[in-house]
Structures are given as C-alpha cells and as structure tokens.
Symmetry: C2
Subunit: 357 residues, 2 copies
C-alpha cells in the first residue's frame, strides 16, 4: 500500500493508485487519511477533517466560490481490485464511480496549491464517505446538517461519472404503496368475496396509460417516469385475496417539490389508499446562473439533464446550483467490468483547469 | 377410551363417541381398528382392512350396488375434544366434518347386519384415512389406484357435510401461473426497459371482466369462478421489473374435463405464457340415473350442485355417479366452534334408511 498519494502524476495514474486503496463504504478511513495528508501538502489550502469527510479550501477573497465534491467510497469489491490497465483503458472497482473524479479533484488541488494555476474563483474541495449506502450515513448529508456553511458556494460541481459532459441538477424520487382492498372468500365460491388482485387492474392500467412529462427546467429536458416497482397479493391457492399492494416509484423533474410530486401521485391514484414510503427532492440545474454558463462554455459539449438522483440534490436543498461533471460512463458503475477511458480522465482535468484559469 | 363402539345407540350419541377418539390425519389407526371391529360385529357383512381403510360389503346379489363413503380423519384438534353436548347441539372436532356422517354409515351397517332393514340394493361401506391432507396420502385415492373393483357400484354417496341435502358431483379445479415478461432497467430511465407489472394490466382486466359460466349439468347449476389467487413482481425499489406472475385458479363445472378446462384458460390468456401448476377433475352429479333419482326422492329436499372439490371426483374418475349427502353445515368444518344439530344427524340416518328400505 502507498503511504502517500503522489499528486504530481497524471490523473489516470492517480486514479489507479486510488483504486488500489480499497474503500468500500464504511471502510474509508485509510483513504480519507491519505487524501487529508495529500491536500495538507498543497500549500495555501486550509484543510479540515470531520470523521471521514475531508474539506479543503482556498481563501483568496474571490467574488465567486465553486465547490468540487466527490465520494471516497465504492460498492463492494467484485474481484476487480487492484486496478488493471489495458492499453488506453483502466479497469477496476471505482475507476468510473468515482475515483477518477476524485483523482481530478486532487490534481486540481495540486495545481492550485503549487501555483501552476491561479483560479479566478475560490474553491472548496469536499471528499466524503458512505455515498453508496443508505442515505442516513451519507457524509455529505451529514455535513449539510451539521456544518452547512462549509459547503457554501455559488456553484457545486459533483464529479460523479457523466461521460465528462455536464449533467445538470437531478430528478426527485418518491415511492408510494397503493393498497387495494378486497374481501376474503373460498375460491370455489368466489362470488362471496371481492378479489383485490382483480380490483388492482385499474391501478396497473393507469400506470400503463400514464404519459410521463418531459419538462424543460432552466434549459434542460427532464424525462419523468411513473412505474410499478413491486406488486404482491394472495393468501393461498384456494382463497380470494383481500389485499393487493402495488409499490410505485415516481421520478420527477426538479420543477416539482416533493409535496407537489406527492399531490400529483394522489391525483393519479385518486380513490385508492396511498402510503408514502420514501421521498427525496430533485435539484434544479441552475445552468441559468452566469458561473454555471461559464462552466458549460469552458468544458464544452451540450449539457443534458441528470435523470438519476444524485447528491447534487443535497446542494439544491442548500440553495446552491449544482451539476454533475466527471469522467466515466455512469452505466458502468457498480459492474464487475467497471472501467474508464484514460483519455477521458485526462480530458476532464483539462476541462476543469480551462474553467478555472 | 372406549374399547368397542356401540352401534346400537342413536347416531348422535355414536357421533360423540367417535369425536372422543382423536383421529387427526395420519393417526387414524385406533379409530380404524374400532370401526373394523364394529363392522365385523355386524353379521352378514364381509369386511376387509387395507392400511387404515376399512371396507365392508353386503353380497345379496341385488341388481344395484350403492357405495357409502366417509373419511375417519379430522383436522388438528383445536381445544375441541372431547365432544360437548349443549341441548340439541353437539360440539367438537369432527362433529360436522365428518364423524356424524361416519356415525350414520355405522348405524346403517348395524341396521342391515341385524336384519332390522333389508336393503333393496347391495351396499359397500368405505371408511378411509387422510382426507384432510395432501391428495397423495388420501386413502380413497389409494384404493382407487390399487383396488378399484372394491369401490365398484352404481351410485356413490359421500357422507361429507351437506346440511343433509343432496349436493351433486363437484367442480374441477386447476391452477396456472401466467407469466408476463419485461425488460429490466433503472427506474430513473424507465424508457430503456419494459415494465412487466404494467404489462400485466390486461391479464387482470381479463380476469375482472370475465363472466363465469353458470352451467346446467344433469339438472344442477354449477357456478364457475376464474380468479387470481396470487400475484408477484418486482426486483428492487429502483428497478423496472422484468417479470410479473399471476397465479390463477379456475373452478370449472363438471361438463368440462381437465383438458377442456385448460384449453379454455389458454384461450382466455391467449398471448401469455402459461404454466399448469395443478389440476383435479370435477364429477358429474349423475342425478339423471334412476338410482340417483330414487335417492333424491327418498331423502327429500331440492338437490344442489357441490361447488367445492370433494372426493366424489375420485368416483367420477371411475365412472361412478356420486353425490354428497351428510349431516352438518359445511361452513363449520375446520373451525374451533365446529358443531352439529343433533336432529340433523338423526334425520340423515332416517333419510338414508328410507332410501334403502
């Protein structure tokens, strides 16, 4: 194992070094310590450590502050550590999600700390733990609750994999259980009962017929989705079932609040008993701010809407416009064959440096 | 415990004695032995014992033979043994299902053996085990496979509880799993998948809209039923499900064979993948035979169709018209408060004797 991270190498080599330090959620302590040491080695940065969260900052009294954020943890190893380079491709757990993004963050810290670049904005780096597990453990969420001032800024860039394209904001998500009641009876005398599964047909039809919105928010198009993700019902092979439950997931564009989204779902399933089981807000892309527009212009490419839920929503709640921009194909995340194109890691660093210079 | 069954008492007192001898399925040996001894004590009957099945017969060279059949076992005791008589009602496990029927069978054996009545038909009594458990253990089914000749006759009367009314034949039953496929995807990008739960809407609609037949078979009306008895689907809260399975139970009138019934279900669910999970034939009531007509006339009341599945189907398979006729309310079967009206037990014996005389 490395005893120190060498930030003077290129971002791809640094990615490989980070991948080789296992940091499955809950076990980030070693990597967090190495990252802390590395950023403390960058002169002119102030550094704080809070659990396995490491926050570094420039304090150059610029008018604008940009937050760069990334998580240190990975999903469990799937026989894909240490990393393996084949030609122009780097394989391994976290190559995409998101140690290549963390490598780019660290490279920028090195360039700023060494004076190689003099950024026109103040910068905050947030390295955090437990993104790949239940939301309650999320390190960024913890800091947002306990020390939101340390996350303050005019734009947050989350270096989650986005194919090195700008993906703005994120969609919200909520889940409800739609319960359809019936009356139990013996199936040989079914007319004495009311079949809850049959009575669920209109629920499924409303889902099948539902036309999800495509919404323009701050210039990006968000495609919503309303889907059954579970259904269960039945008592025994000779019993008319007295209950059927459909679990529905609504992914909603960030023009809707959680309350708005739930009210909409209540309309869709008017007449049925609903129980909200979980909910998380979306985040507007905020690409209409001048700093975000400058970011988009500097990194190039056509911005698109982020369609999953990501930690940008935690910045959205704090009123900070946030976007996703990082190397790696998000569709490869969490897969044993996870890999990243070396050139995309280098390009992401170059793009970020172009924005800061 | 009694060491001998006294068949000279009235049928209700005999029912109480039978209830007091526990005979939960698989544990019928004691009761089967006492029944064997009792019918061997009836002169002029030939008796055979096969496991816990006891078969007794008259051999009087009558033109017609009637089979009286009943099971010796009960569901597990629910703090309702020994029996308890309150006024005109006898409480206890098996009072309805079906030790009162067995008592009536034994009373008829005593009356025939003693010469008190001289029946105009030959009679076969079949007392059997393991009716309340899985079909493979059923004693009547075993004899039907290994020694069907011993069940031969022109009419079978199963003394299962029917409120002392004639319930003709029984419905068939089959179950199929209807599988609806989909394509898995992340629920934030649902348009990349095909939602198998949504795609099940037409299956549930067909069930909800299905008009079950009411079929006249040999003069009785059978009300069919087609019902979902189970549904399951779903992978995770953020995944478009790639499979949904609806389990359907079809209760069909005895004008349809199992093959006919399955063909019908394939028509109803045309376009879907079906798997037959279990099937049992119905039984025609055979009330159009002269001996059955005589039975109905003798016992009185308006015959009705049996809507559950019962062991009469085992006679149906052997080509023997079969009906249900026994004391007790079938809706009380298997309940802790199981009970029978004493008068109904006595009346059932009287009705059967009227038919035989």
């Amino acid at each position: 194992m490395l005893c120190v991270l060498d930030l003077t190498t290129d971002a791809a080599t640094l990615t490989a070094a980070l991948v080789d330090i296992e940091s499955v959620s809950g076990d980030e302590n070693t990597l967090a310590g190495l990252v802390e040491d590395a950023v403390r080695g960058c002169s002119s940065l102030t550094v704080q450590r809070d659990g396995n969260v490491v926050i570094a900052r420039t304090e150059r009294a610029r008018e604008t502050r940009v937050v760069l954020a990334g998580h240190l943890d990975t999903v469990p190893i799937a026989d894909n550590v240490p990393s393996r380079r084949e030609g122009d491709v780097l394989y391994g757990c976290g190559t995409t999600d998101m140690k290549s993004g963390v490598a780019v963050m660290l490279r920028v810290a090195q360039l700023v700390g060494s004076g190689a670049i003099d950024p026109r904005v103040d910068l905050t780096w947030v390295f955090y733990d437990c993104e790949e597990v239940e939301s309650a453990r999320n390190g960024l969420g913890r800091i947002a609750r306990t020390d939101p001032a340390s996350l303050a800024g005019d734009l947050a860039v989350l270096l989650e994999p986005s194919g090195a394209l700008v993906e703005g904001g994120c969609q919200g998500t909520l889940r409800v259980a739609v319960r359809v009641p019936g009356v139990r009876a013996h199936s040989a005398r079914s007319w004495l009962g009311v079949n809850a599964i049959h009575a669920s047909a209109p629920v499924l039809s409303r889902l099948a017929d539902y036309l999800p919105r495509e919404v323009d928010v701050d210039g990006l198009t968000y495609c919503e989705g309303l889907n059954a993700v579970g259904i269960s019902g039945g008592v025994a092979g000779n019993v008319i079932p007295d209950e059927c439950t459909v679990t529905v997931n609504y992914r909603f564009a960030p023009d809707r609040s959680e309350d708005d989204a739930l009210a909409h779902i209540r309309e869709v399933f008017d007449g049925y008993e609903l129980t909200l089981t979980d909910s998380a807000p979306g985040a507007r892309p905020g690409l209409d701010s001048s700093i975000a527009a400058e970011f988009v212009a500097a990194v190039g490419g056509e911005p698109r809407a982020k369609l999953g839920w990501t930690d940008v929503a935690r910045f959205g709640v704090l009123g900070i416009p946030a976007l996703n921009f990082g190397p790696g194909d998000p569709n490869l995340a969490h897969k044993p064959e996870e890999h990243v194109e070396v050139q995309q890691v280098l390009d992401a660093e170059t793009a970020l440096v172009r924005f800061l210079s």
